[in-house]
Every structure is written in C-alpha cells, then in structure tokens.
C-alpha cells in the first residue's frame, strides 16, 4: 500500500491474507467468433480495492458483467465465498451482495433519484393493494445514504436525466451501497468526471474498502487513480490476465507496459 493510503486508511494490510469474497477462475466467454474472455481470473478480497486494467477491448467490462450476472460465461469457475455462485441474473447477484456501478450508470432518466435508488427493490405495501410504493420510507432511506455521501442537497424529485454527469454518477454509486453489499464493482467510475468529482469518488471507493467490502474498479486512469487509490492491480490483455501488481510497488509506466504487451512489468507480478 502506498504511504499516504496506509496512513489514512488506518488499518493493517491484512486483507490479502483473508479468504476471497469472489474468486473467478479461468473464465471463458465468446460472442460468436469473438473471444471476449479466454481464461480470465480474478480474486476479490475483503477490505481491498482491486483495479482491473487493460487496453480497449481487453475484456474488462465483459468480466465485470459476468460477475454481475448480466451475462453468462461459457466455462470456468465463479466462486462466492468459496462456494460455486448461483448467479444467472443481475437480481441474483444483487441478492447475494454483489452490486455494480455500470459504465453507462444504468439509470432510468425519467425517474427521480429515490425511484432510481430503489429500482427493482421498492419498499411496497401489500399485494392486494397493488403493491403501493412506500415513497416516504424510500425517501427517508435515500436521504440517509445521500447524506452519508455528503449529497444531502441533491434533488430527490427531479428526473435524473436532468442532472449533471457527476450527480448521476453519485446516484448510481448511492444505489450500489444502499443494500449494504459485500462486493461493489465499478466500471470506469471516474471517466466522465471532473477532478474534484473524481476525487470524491476515489475517497468513497476507499471508504467502502475500509468498511471491509471487496471493491473492484475498472479504470483507464492508470497514472492517477489506479496507482494511488487502489491496493492491487490486475492487468488484462486479449481476454486473459497478463500481470498482477501491488499498487504501492509499481509506477504507472510499468502498468501501462504490461497493458500494451511490454515485458518488464510482468517481472514485478505478485
């Protein structure tokens, strides 16, 4: 762990020694003749932020979608806390405590923040009353989560389509932590954000890990976010893993080298 991070995080780096929350082994996935994943592996440990990096088309988003249950995989093992995970739909993954903040955010632009936060898991009244949404209760919980994210004054009633990119990103993140997950997966969370907004997201990601969650972050922001705000870096190329680093031990250049196929990076692999 890099110096400032260890100091601020204020917790011993025992994460690596713990049993993985998620363990993906030799995952393969093809789209017709396109081999998006050719034996990709990934461990997600509690209290650790693992960065998933690689060139465009390396298979990062595909691996994330497999973890989230959005798509199935052809072969390989997907273990959740040591047991084969029975994840066929995104709802299965959420129910098992795996939350995802997608690259496209997956928000409904015509709904407001509260409705988006609870989408698919609304607090409702009885069936014979048509499952009336308990708006007030949803709103109270939404306010709590947003307040903890320091987003207390975010509008709860305007459609999220009318909000800025940063605000929408924050709502997507708030949704992912609403149900106290075990693992949160971020696909390019800082790509569309200003520096200050990206800093907020980085802080938030760290705080999740500090609370003992496993965090996976796909990012292209190697030199800033990846080497400074994560614990471990998994490099993917052409659908497989090519290198793995402790974030505190590497420079951005070494990571980039591994991504594009240079060899010196791989020597530092853990």
């Amino acid at each position: 762990m890099s110096e400032p991070m260890a100091a601020v995080a204020g917790r011993p780096n025992e994460a690596a020694s713990q049993a993985p929350l998620i363990s993906m082994r030799d995952i393969r996935k093809s789209y017709g003749s396109v081999h998006a994943l050719r034996g990709a592996s990934l461990d997600v440990l509690p209290g650790e932020v693992v960065a998933l990096v690689g060139d465009n088309g390396a298979g990062k988003s595909t691996l994330v979608k497999v973890m989230a249950g959005v798509i199935g995989f052809d072969s390989g093992d997907y273990l959740l806390e040591g047991q084969p995970a029975k994840i066929r739909t995104p709802a299965d993954a959420t129910a098992l405590g795996i939350q995802t903040v997608y690259q496209d955010l997956s928000l409904c632009n015509n709904l407001d923040a509260v409705q988006n936060l609870f989408l698919g898991r609304e607090l409702t009244g009885p069936r014979w009353f048509g499952r009336r949404v308990r708006r007030a209760e949803c709103e109270v919980r939404a306010r709590e989560v947003l307040a903890r994210m320091r987003l207390g004054s975010l509008s709860l009633t305007r459609p999220v389509g009318a909000m800025s990119g940063g605000q929408r990103q924050n709502i997507a993140i708030a949704r992912s932590i609403l149900w106290t997950p075990k693992v949160v997966i971020f696909d390019e969370p800082t790509a569309a954000l200003s520096h200050s907004a990206a800093a907020q997201v980085a802080a938030l990601i760290r705080s999740l890990a500090d609370d003992g969650l496993g965090v996976v972050v796909v990012s292209h922001d190697i030199h800033h976010f990846v080497v400074n705000s994560t614990d471990r870096i998994e490099v993917m190329r052409l659908g497989g893993n090519v290198a793995s680093f402790r974030s505190k031990d590497v420079t951005g250049e070494q990571v980039v080298n591994a991504m594009v196929g240079g060899n010196e990076g791989a020597n530092l692999a853990v």
């Binding site: 995104p90 997956s106 989408l119 109270v140 994210m149 207390g152 305007r158 400074n228």
Partner: protein, 429 residues
Amino acid sequence: MPWWVATRERTLLSESNSHPTGAVAAADAEVELVPATHPSEKRTFGELLTSDLRALPVIIGLVALWIFFILQNDVFLTPRNLSNLLIQSTVVGVMALGLMFVLLVKEIDLSVAAINGVTAVLMAKLIVEFGASPWVAIPLAIVVGALIGCVSARWVTFVGVPSFVVTLGLGLGLNGLQLILLPTTARYGLMGTSVETIALAKIDGLAAWGVLAIGVGLYGLLVLSSIVRRRRAGLSVSMVKGLALPLVGVTLFGAVVVAILNAHQGIPVVTLVFSALLGLGGYVLNETQFGLHLYAVGNNDEAARRAGIKVSRVKMAAFAIAGGISAIAGVIGASRSLGVGVFSGGGVGGGTLLLECIAAAVIGGVSLFGGRGSIHAPLLGSLVIGSVQNGLNLMGVHDEIRLIVTGLLLVLAVSIDKLIEKFTGQQSF
C-alpha cells in the same frame, strides 16, 4: 498531496441508524470535499412546463377549441351537447388509456382496434346465437382481449419481432376472424339484449352526486394516506400543496361536471366507466410498483433488467391491459351502435378508430418513444378529438375537414412539446 488522495469517509457504510441524517465523520479530512452543486428545488417555469405542468399546453389548446366552437354555435355549450361530447369521446378515450400502457414500455399495439372489433363480435355472437347472459359474455370478451394482448407480448419479447410488425399482422388476422365470426347478414343486432342500454343509461340527481362523493372520497383517502406517511417518516409536508389544493381542485372540477351532466339526464354510465378506468389507471401508474416499472422499462429496459425487473413480464402485462381495455371499449362501441358488424373496431384495418386512439394518447402527451406520459393524457387527448368532431358537426362541416383538423392538431401538439423542450433546454420526461 496529489488531488486524488482525497478525504476518507470511513463511516460511509456503518449501520445507518447510528448515523443521524447529515452526520458525516471525516475527522482526518485533508482535502475538503467539494459539495456537488445543487440547483435549488424551486423550479423555473420552463422546467415546470416539462414536468408538473406538461398538460398545460393541451389544456390551453382544449380551452381555445371550446371558445372557438362556443363562438361559432350556441348549442355547443348546452348540457345536452356536452353530455353527447363526453359520450362520443369515450370509446377513443378508453382505447387510448389502454394503448398508453403499451406506449409507456416503448412498444406499440396496432391491433387494439381489431381486438375491439373481434371481441365485440364475439360477445354479440355469444349473446345472440348462444343465448349467453351479458354478464358472462362481456367479461369473457374482456378476458379474450387480454389474452390476445398476452400473445402479442409473448411474440414480441420471446421471438424478438418488433411489436409494430407483430400487432400489424395480428390486427389483420383478427379482422379476418371478425368477418368469419359474423353471420351471413354481416351483423348482430343487440336490441333487447340489455347491452344496448349501457350507452343510454345515465345516473342522475342525488345518485350522481353520491358517485362524485365516492370518487372524491377515495382520492382524498389516497392523498391523505400519503401525507400521513410522510409526516410519520418525519418528512416535510405541505398541507396546502399536498392535500388541500388537489382535493379542492378535484372536488370543484367534479362538481362542475356533475352539475352540467345533471342538467341533462345525469352522468352517462360510459363516462362513469371511463372515469373509473382513469382513476384506477392513475393509481396503478402513479402509486404502484408495477406503474413505476412501466416507466422504467420504457426509458431504459436494460437498466430495468439489471435492477432485477422482469422486463418481459411487465411488457406482457401492458399488452394484456391494452387488450382487455380495448375489449371494454368494444362493448361500449357495440352498445352505442346497437349492434356489431364489419364496422366494429373501426372496420377492416382499424380505420379512424385506430388512428384516433393513437392520436389521442399522443396529443395528451404520451411519447411514442417510451417512458413518458401521465394519466391525464387519454382524457385530454380524447376530449380534443371529440370536441373537434362534435364542434365541426354542429357547424355543419363535413367529415373530411374533421380528419384534416384532427391530423393537424396531432402534429401541432407534438410540435409544441418539442418547441418547449428546445426553448427551455429541458428534456421532458
């Protein structure tokens, strides 16, 4: 310290109840987090036009139409004519209400008119040929309508053929079936079957006020329960804006309508049916989980799926509702024309009935691109179309002009919507 090593908020995920709202522990903050910029909850007029006041342009248009017709003909504003206008608007309004559910999930059902026709003929056949009671035949027709909707939905979601194609083909097929079901005389008369009385029946006097009281009472309970919930949850509530204003508004509006209708025989039963469907539809769309999911699926079906919503099930329900409601409209239509025939359901191809119910929904503000439209749309849209028909009729203008005017109004309504979006820079949802 580089910018990306920002404040840690360790407590983010700790138990929620241990954190009163707003309390954030960030003791070792090194960089003060920049609070996101928040536009205040107060909205500009432009913003309101694209959200809460979206109905305003249509209402203004409707009022303008009425003023025009009142100036042209003194008969227009008579209770008798207004009562007629309401009855005339009912079939299109009811159909538009059903169709709206399908439009909300970003699909279209071009077979609604054909469902209307075929189920009406089926009902008539059961009553006339098989001596079935209307109490059996009508519910059966509605169930068949809903089942037809399920079939299209299944085809659309499972096979993946666009609903435009599926329902276009299905509609033609149902037109054929309608002709097959008809006897050689090509007509079933419904006189003396008591179905024909539906369109004539009216509720007048005290009973009409009683019906209004029940409606307002139910609405009041709904609004009140929301307010009580918010109070209990410690959220801010505005008694005036949240309770008094809507309740007084609805009561006044209802009282004016009932007073006018009572001046001419009372509330038509078909108007009552339409109102009840509007009330129920409003509850489903605005209050229930299913209603919310309709909007979600219509805006972003992949996001809905990822959120665990069973998209194809929601779509099937929408198509089933459209089918069932089309059958209800079919019964009303059959009752108005005292029988069924080739002309039922707008005739082969759906005729003007199909076009008018799509137009009504769109004029009222339902988007053909999914996820947008409120319950007032079928009411306002069908009133616009009904008023044009009624008013021009009174002026002695021919049908061809009516079609041209209706067509222009449709394009105008959508254009106004687009222009508002353009000039306010707000996308309406």
